[in-house]
Symmetry: D2
Subunit: 380 residues, 4 copies
Amino acid sequence: MSTGVWLIGARGSVATTAIAGAAAVAAGLAAPTGCVTELPDFAAARLPGLGDLVFGGHDIAGTALAKRAEQLVRARVVPAGLPELVADDLAAADAEIRPGVRVPVEDGDQAAAAAVLAADITAFRERRGLDRVVVINVASTEPPATPNPAHDSLAALSGALAAGTAALPASSLYAYAALTAGCPYVDFTPSTGARLPAIDELARTRGLPYAGRDGKTGETLLKSVLAPMFAQRALLVRAWSGTNLLGGGDGATLADPAAAEAKNVSKQTVLRETLGHPVDGEVHIDYVPELGDWKTAWDHVLFEGFLGVRMNLQFTWQGCDSALAAPLILDLARLMALAHESGQAGPVRELAFFFKDPVGEADHSLAAQYDALRAWAGAR
Amino acid sequence: MSTGVWLIGARGSVATTAIAGAAAVAAGLAAPTGCVTELPDFAAARLPGLGDLVFGGHDIAGTALAKRAEQLVRARVVPAGLPELVADDLAAADAEIRPGVRVPVEDGDQAAAAAVLAADITAFRERRGLDRVVVINVASTEPPATPNPAHDSLAALSGALAAGTAALPASSLYAYAALTAGCPYVDFTPSTGARLPAIDELARTRGLPYAGRDGKTGETLLKSVLAPMFAQRALLVRAWSGTNLLGGGDGATLADPAAAEAKNVSKQTVLRETLGHPVDGEVHIDYVPELGDWKTAWDHVLFEGFLGVRMNLQFTWQGCDSALAAPLILDLARLMALAHESGQAGPVRELAFFFKDPVGEADHSLAAQYDALRAWAGAR
Amino acid sequence: MSTGVWLIGARGSVATTAIAGAAAVAAGLAAPTGCVTELPDFAAARLPGLGDLVFGGHDIAGTALAKRAEQLVRARVVPAGLPELVADDLAAADAEIRPGVRVPVEDGDQAAAAAVLAADITAFRERRGLDRVVVINVASTEPPATPNPAHDSLAALSGALAAGTAALPASSLYAYAALTAGCPYVDFTPSTGARLPAIDELARTRGLPYAGRDGKTGETLLKSVLAPMFAQRALLVRAWSGTNLLGGGDGATLADPAAAEAKNVSKQTVLRETLGHPVDGEVHIDYVPELGDWKTAWDHVLFEGFLGVRMNLQFTWQGCDSALAAPLILDLARLMALAHESGQAGPVRELAFFFKDPVGEADHSLAAQYDALRAWAGAR
Amino acid sequence: MSTGVWLIGARGSVATTAIAGAAAVAAGLAAPTGCVTELPDFAAARLPGLGDLVFGGHDIAGTALAKRAEQLVRARVVPAGLPELVADDLAAADAEIRPGVRVPVEDGDQAAAAAVLAADITAFRERRGLDRVVVINVASTEPPATPNPAHDSLAALSGALAAGTAALPASSLYAYAALTAGCPYVDFTPSTGARLPAIDELARTRGLPYAGRDGKTGETLLKSVLAPMFAQRALLVRAWSGTNLLGGGDGATLADPAAAEAKNVSKQTVLRETLGHPVDGEVHIDYVPELGDWKTAWDHVLFEGFLGVRMNLQFTWQGCDSALAAPLILDLARLMALAHESGQAGPVRELAFFFKDPVGEADHSLAAQYDALRAWAGAR
């Protein structure tokens, strides 16, 4: 299966790391550490090979991938020397990146903009002779979308677009374009993307799968194993507080309180749903530019045991955002190719393992999510 | 089902907290926080009620439970005022505590000693009209046992005992006595207990269940959810280092390097078996008397992600040992009563959820262990 | 020297702990741990004895000190049994507590209110035959004061008060009352208190010393030794981020963003002034009611070493606010008695050791502050 | 003042970083971050310029400095691209490195070995026309020296050497050689070096200064500011526990329990002497090869406040050993040049600021050490 991977934000850190890394792994220059689909549990699944992925995408920036890769060397994300070794792969992807739409999408003619975006993707699929293209949003986080009646149904949305109304946030415009181009779509960020009834209806109507949202690579990943531990041990969590120090582009975006709010909501869900009761405590997201592509999360969990004794757990997670996210992008491209191949339409709930705020009802326990993912991939 | 709970180390912190706590919960003075068997998942299981448990045990110390409970108030384990409110229950249990055997068991006539211990338990069962008695070892940790041919089979052990040889460590002598008295047996400590082929054979011969060993209430509990997370995310753990600061009786015992070694071995198993490869890093157990009944564990996990990027996770767990262990004692008493009632013999692998070093082959993932436990309890 | 200690917020946790603790130490029931003035360096200073302090104060609450002390036993601040042993001392202080003014001070006649407060203090001094009374504000933190021309000079303030204008925040009204009653005054909170030109002028005019503000008992205390370490080692601090989890009354007050802002400003000063440049990073104050009288501060310091290498320091401070603050109240009472006795007027800069935001220009290094304090106390 | 810096272990990470870094700073390619002597407080001191330092040394390894510098780029110690920019400086130092003596020094003829070492240094001084050469030991840590009567006086040592006895550990042989060559000597490691009465006597006899030992760059640096804080606040430290995870060469050496013991002894001194009483708690040094040149220290301090309340402080220090040590090597070279220039002989106590286990009686407070250093440097 020749599979295209079309990245929204294709010149960002996550995208560049994914493209360089896929090339490095395919060339035997690096192990596929962090790629879930390379685990033995997925050996029998009918997934496209890592080396069969073909990259392209949209971006509003114009910096060459080779230059971005060198920046990532200095940021300690990509090993020294690697960009030179995969220079051809970076150049090939570079040639497939088209200009994106700016946020906010001020131009009223979103129908025309979506048509251009969809045409870019279709042209990529045809030019490269691909069986399918999976579109994945790894662009910077948007603020929460303003409610709009055009979001409520495909008919309403179509009417608004036909009337020249700018009804969609950029991430949803990309989702709309991807689906109209016949492509599966993944929200790796907390932006709105496909999470509107109108877009969901579009996916179902076209018989296309979508997944998301907000890849979990740090604090929420830990919550998804620690919260079930407290629940299964009948220990009562009294307060769960967290501070996230983020550098890089996402940190800057989240310094905008509205965007932070979007991220916060998805971070809290896992606790409330796993523990079965609301939990005290705030989650802070601080932009610390000097951290670069790295992030540090500190969480403090105050819990109660037998006879009311108060105890606590603290953890500090010091991770490199792109190194954590990039292999999951490759996983999602392969798994969504499988979903598409097998004719699945609408939200793919079985990919909840990857997301902070998964579509549909889902168990928030990582272990349960892994079991569901494995079973799903094996059955296709 | 009227169920006796016979505690080896019945005047220790864990036992005293369990006895006082069971009374408090039965009287509606406290919630059953920390009691796994009180979760909705176990509501349909045919378990004895918390209020139906009757306590007794062996101990080499003579301090009254009421006095021990007051010490635990000062140690911030038991709430102020509670000992007075459950004074009758403490006195009732006090009246059922018999002198234990000293460690090391220097008197050669272990057969006679075992007979006395078994007679104590039998008399308790008859005097209180109990359907069954579950024997649980919560005494201080022993050093690892010296290998002895008498451990290899029930025949060899019987021969050695008949010959007046002191072949067994104290914990195993208690297990031997419990089983000969027809009682299920649980090792909550890392001591040898029932983990000898001869004792295992005795349990099977008598048709009795046993379980263990070494209750997980801190660092290993966290390892059993964090190690699967790294494995399922294909992140490569390069080194896992830990330092445990323990006060109280167990800390003092574990200051003995031989006993520490016993505990260390069970602590490392979970990592190697979950991650599928040996992992660098040491585990320290320091005795810090000033910590009293509290313990602090700090772990540092160095792991590798995509393209070899090194990241790390640290956690600090600050817990009260008795508050964590006591409700599990009540759980184990109830679950072993169920095992006995349903005729199960030999090691009960489905109780691996509770132990650092579970008997038999077991998945070391806490989530898998919980699922196994729930299924087992529901099916009986 | 018989010295009165008049506490604003006399029924709060800090005040109750200070009163009970002074009695316990004087009676030989407890060591003076945490009392700086009990160190050998201060043995020769002409300070009133801990046992010679006589307590009274203002409070808007009416709960008896004996009851507050029992609450502090349950909160693990005061040892079980102590309230009974010092019951007479608590009762004696109780009898000297008068109703305080409510915040905000809405009644326009602040001149009359101040006269009542001053009369309360004067009556206490005369009734108990005290050489002097030190007034210390340990009430809940106020929001920052609204600028008002009446704050600029004593003449302007006197005019406003005479005109019946409510120009002062409550903390400043107490400071005004204390000084007009001829008493030294200490701000232990970040509230405005004596930090207005008009009140400073009043103190100088009356020849009275004052000190403050905002006792440092956690994060800032650590900053005052760690920031100089970085500076003296020529290590470049790139970002210093902090999260403070507070329970208890102060946490609730600081949940008010305006009050938090007051506290934040004083917390940041030490970094900028010690390191000589502004430092990136936010400081959060979260109210976590379940923490009770305890607080947890986590700080993350990102710093740069030779050749630009980025490193980090993290610390977690888990402290009991009242246990940290109460002995400093006793220290300040004794030291301010000395300042008064020796005729010092205006701000006592040499007490910067105790405060987050000390009056006047001051070295923010704790070591330098300690040296200055010791020299000052020895020379009086 | 043209000053030579002769490094024992000249091809190690610390030495390579110091040489490359001095060149980078002199060329304006990097700021002198971490160089204490570049602080304004030392602007008036008569120190040689960083650019006037000329490097050479002994090493048993033969790897070229240029290659070592590339390894340090991969280890994230030296910035990518720097080795090329300072290639001439590295080559110049490379040309001045002579073979060192192996540890243990098994050849009996230590007198001859010392003569060769001294001749190497003397030849360097003359060849490069240097005013003086400061010798600094940055080689791997040795085990503690075996007591030997030849250590007790210069006469005894001279006799033993004349008799062909191998009386000295390698570090002391280097110190002996340095002093006989007329050079100031610095122990930056915990090895014995100049800390023998015979070597001390040699230094005094020759009128030469020496300093040491064991550069403080992590846990002990923090102890030297935190322990005084507890002492000055009259807070009672009940237990201070620490775990150090070390990669790199020093970690491997310290995995040898005897060497670890040497390091541990110097780490504990600061606590006992600062707090005035022995303190409970162990210090662990674990070798974690995967950490490379990085180290992580976790400390847990259990302390008592007013009325016996137990609280705690934890910190984690994640540092790059070479980036922390290298600038101090440059500082020590400059300061020892000043000591020599001004005719100081014997131990230079005023350099205690730099060392875990300073020679002579010293205040262990970093702040006091800094003040002493500044005063000393200013007065020369």
